[in-house]
């Protein structure tokens, strides 16, 4: 196991570095769409970077991730090469899925990114299966399944949580509660006060925890505990990471349902800005060093875009290949 056990300034810097990487790709992609250079359905993870970065910091390469259409941050944090993502967004054969999946259906086995689903709530049952396989094989892997607050109102959430608890599966249910289920507020769609308290319904095998997902220390510690618990065979955790989506549901969503003051306040608390202060105050990196990291990631993104644009589209015969295995 190579992931760090305890929170430290080095861990904080790692988390922040990953968050910066995510933001650079996220901003870069949005820029390409805005300028008309890329056309795709984009569900920005803006503002949720710290959660993913902490998750990535607590996992091994061999661990499994199941995420959702708003999954760019999770995929990067799990270690997916940016080039593979950007080329897939461009529909090129060099993309993670040869251009056949697109932004909502990213898979990259090498990084453990097993499934990205475009259907709210559908990843959780699949994650239980990955966990079940690990349990059967005794391969010591942990599966993390990411989803939003809205997904906890889908039946599949209940079925998967119950199964994971009954079978004591090594799965972490990471709910990124960004306050909006697509375009509907948390309060209008969710009856319980927190997501974490829903864990109570699944007995002692399931633990429910709620943390400020935008705070690296709380988030890292909660994630560390949940991952360790799963790996030790002690059962699943429902980890609610509270955050705020600094964006509409999709890129281009004017989001009239988010009050202006709420959005302004959220932007004032942008974790990328807030955590930057924490990093500098910790003494682990200077402002100049952080700026250099940002510049580096921006450069890497530009290179990824060039790589994508210089890559061919898939052969037209690909339209029917991969439908079935070779008989």
């Amino acid at each position: 196991m190579t992931s760090p056990k305890a929170y430290s300034p080095e861990v904080l810097l790692n988390i922040y570095r990953t968050a910066l990487k995510i933001r650079s790709v996220d901003s870069g992609v949005r820029g390409l769409i805005r300028s008309g250079n890329l056309m795709l359905a984009m569900h920005p993870p803006t503002g949720q970077e710290i959660i993913a970065a902490c998750m990535g910091e607590c996992l091994e390469q061999t661990d499994y991730l199941v995420t959702i259409y708003r999954g760019l941050h999770d995929q990067i944090a799990k270690g997916m090469p940016v080039k593979k993502i950007v080329a897939e967004y461009h529909g090129r054969v060099t993309g993670a899925c040869k251009g056949k999946g697109g932004p909502m259906h990213i898979t990259h086995r090498e990084s453990g990114v097993m499934v990205t689903t475009g259907v709210v709530g559908s990843g959780m049952p699949i994650a239980t299966g990955l966990g079940w396989a690990s349990q059967l094989k005794g391969d010591n892997r942990v599966t993390v399944t990411c989803f939003g607050d809205g997904a906890t109102n889908i039946g599949a959430f209940h079925e998967a949580m119950n199964l994971a608890a009954v079978w004591k599966l090594p799965v972490v249910f990471l709910c990124q509660n960004n306050q909006y289920a697509e375009c509907t507020t948390y309060e209008d769609a969710t009856a319980s006060k927190t997501i974490a308290e829903r864990a109570l319904a699944y007995g002692e095998n399931m633990v429910g925890v709620s943390v400020d997902g935008n705070d690296p220390e709380s988030m890292f510690n909660a994630m560390r505990k949940a991952v360790d618990r799963a790996r030790a065979g002690k059962g699943p955790t429902l980890l609610e990471a509270k955050t705020f989506r600094l964006s509409g549901h999709y890129f281009g969503d004017p989001s009239p349902y988010i009050p202006k003051e709420q959005m302004a306040e959220a932007f004032a608390n942008d974790p990328i800005v807030k955590v930057r202060e924490q990093v500098i105050n910790s003494g682990i990196a200077t402002a100049d060093e952080l700026d250099a990291i940002v510049t580096q990631f921006e450069k890497e993104f530009e290179e990824a875009v060039e790589f994508a644009k210089n890559s061919p589209f898939p052969e037209l015969s690909e339209v029917t290949t991969d439908m079935y295995g070779v008989a």
Binding site: G99, P125, G129, L163, W167, D322, M323
Partner: protein, 331 residues
């Protein structure tokens, strides 16, 4: 020579699962009530397997169809070959998202990285008074989803061979078991009997008319073809075995020879497998046709409860015979 060993369809399913589990440690079963503790499944197909292979590999689940199919998919991505039991076919509708959006598509959407080698066994069929929500033949729904394979056996020996093939196949397979004929017996196949998927079976050669079917109606058709032979009518009988991918060549070659065809299935008439088979015949064998291709199917209705109505709903053997005779009428 001694009489061949006879087994029921149910015994055939059990034999296939038993052999598959013995041959491959990654084969695991999951479903509602399937463990020995729960009685080995409502239809007893998995009875005895817990004792033989352990509760780890024969996993009773909560009543959670989405979790059952989802868990099967997830485990398959991690190298297992799960066989999920969905007690009645109508209950798969609860898990359509997992089947249609995930099992069928993950191989393609990942550019080939994540095949989904799962088998979903399910039971259905009208005729036992189970009414509208436990009797539907929904094979066409799944055949309409590229990426899925849909398989229906018509004899115990085929049941063994086809189920083994489904479990060994690298794609998601839906294996449909008929509830009415489950205690019907047929000759037992030899050990490790496997039948290739995607290949129809010309069960009886003939020259006047081709009858194409699968599953339960095959039992009617065997008798009808034998009786008509005595009248001098030569019926070629094709058992599709695999609904999807459909073996177009075998169908088309036969119809080119006979010039006449009848398609029969238990499922309701409209928008079904019959329509697809007829379409392929007219696309690829139109010039050989001597009469219109006819369909025999159950009525476009909800499966009713009352015995009289249920029989009225179902296709009838006599409909198949009448259709065959009609294709032979002089114009």
């Amino acid at each position: 020579m001694s009489d061949p060993k006879m087994i029921t369809f149910t015994q055939a399913y059990t034999q296939a699962l038993d052999e598959a589990m013995a041959a491959d440690p990654t084969v695991v079963l999951l479903g509602e009530d399937i463990g020995d503790k729960e009685g080995g499944g409502v239809f007893k197909v998995t009875a005895g397997l817990t004792q033989k292979y352990g509760a780890e590999r024969v996993r009773t689940t909560p009543i959670s169809e989405q979790a059952i199919i989802g868990a099967a998919i997830g485990a398959s991505l991690a190298g297992m070959r799960p066989v999920a039991e969905i007690m009645f076919m109508n209950f798969i509708t609860v898990a359509m998202d997992q089947v249609v959006n995930h099992a069928a598509k993950l191989r393609f959407m990942s550019g080939g990285q994540t095949p989904v080698p799962i088998t979903i066994r399910t039971r259905t069929g009208a005729g036992t008074g189970n009414g509208g929500q436990h009797s539907d033949m929904l094979e066409a729904w799944f055949a309409h989803v590229p990426g899925m394979k849909v398989v229906i056996p018509s004899s115990p020996a085929d049941a063994v061979g086809l189920l083994r093939a489904c479990i060994e196949d690298d794609d998601p397979c839906l294996f449909i078991e008929d509830g009415v004929t489950r205690i019907v017996k047929g000759e037992a196949p030899p050990a490790n009997h496997k039948i290739p998927l995607g290949k129809a079976h010309v069960e009886r050669e003939g020259s006047d008319v081709t009858v194409i079917s699968y599953g339960r109606p095959m039992q009617d058709i065997r008798k009808i073809a034998a009786a008509l032979a005595e009248e001098g009518i030569s019926v070629e009988v094709i058992d599709l075995r695999t609904i999807s991918p459909l073996d177009t060549d075998t169908i088309v070659n036969s119809v080119k020879k006979t010039g006449r065809a009848v398609v029969a299935h238990e499922a309701v008439r409209s928008f079904g497998v019959g329509a697809e088979v007829v379409a392929r015949i007219q696309e690829f064998a139109f010039d050989s046709l001597k009469s219109p291709v006819l369909r025999v199917a159950s009525k476009d209705a909800t499966v009713p409860f009352a015995r009289t109505l249920e029989l009225e709903f179902l296709y009838k053997g006599s409909d198949i015979e009448a259709a065959i005779r009609k294709t032979l009428e002089e114009k």
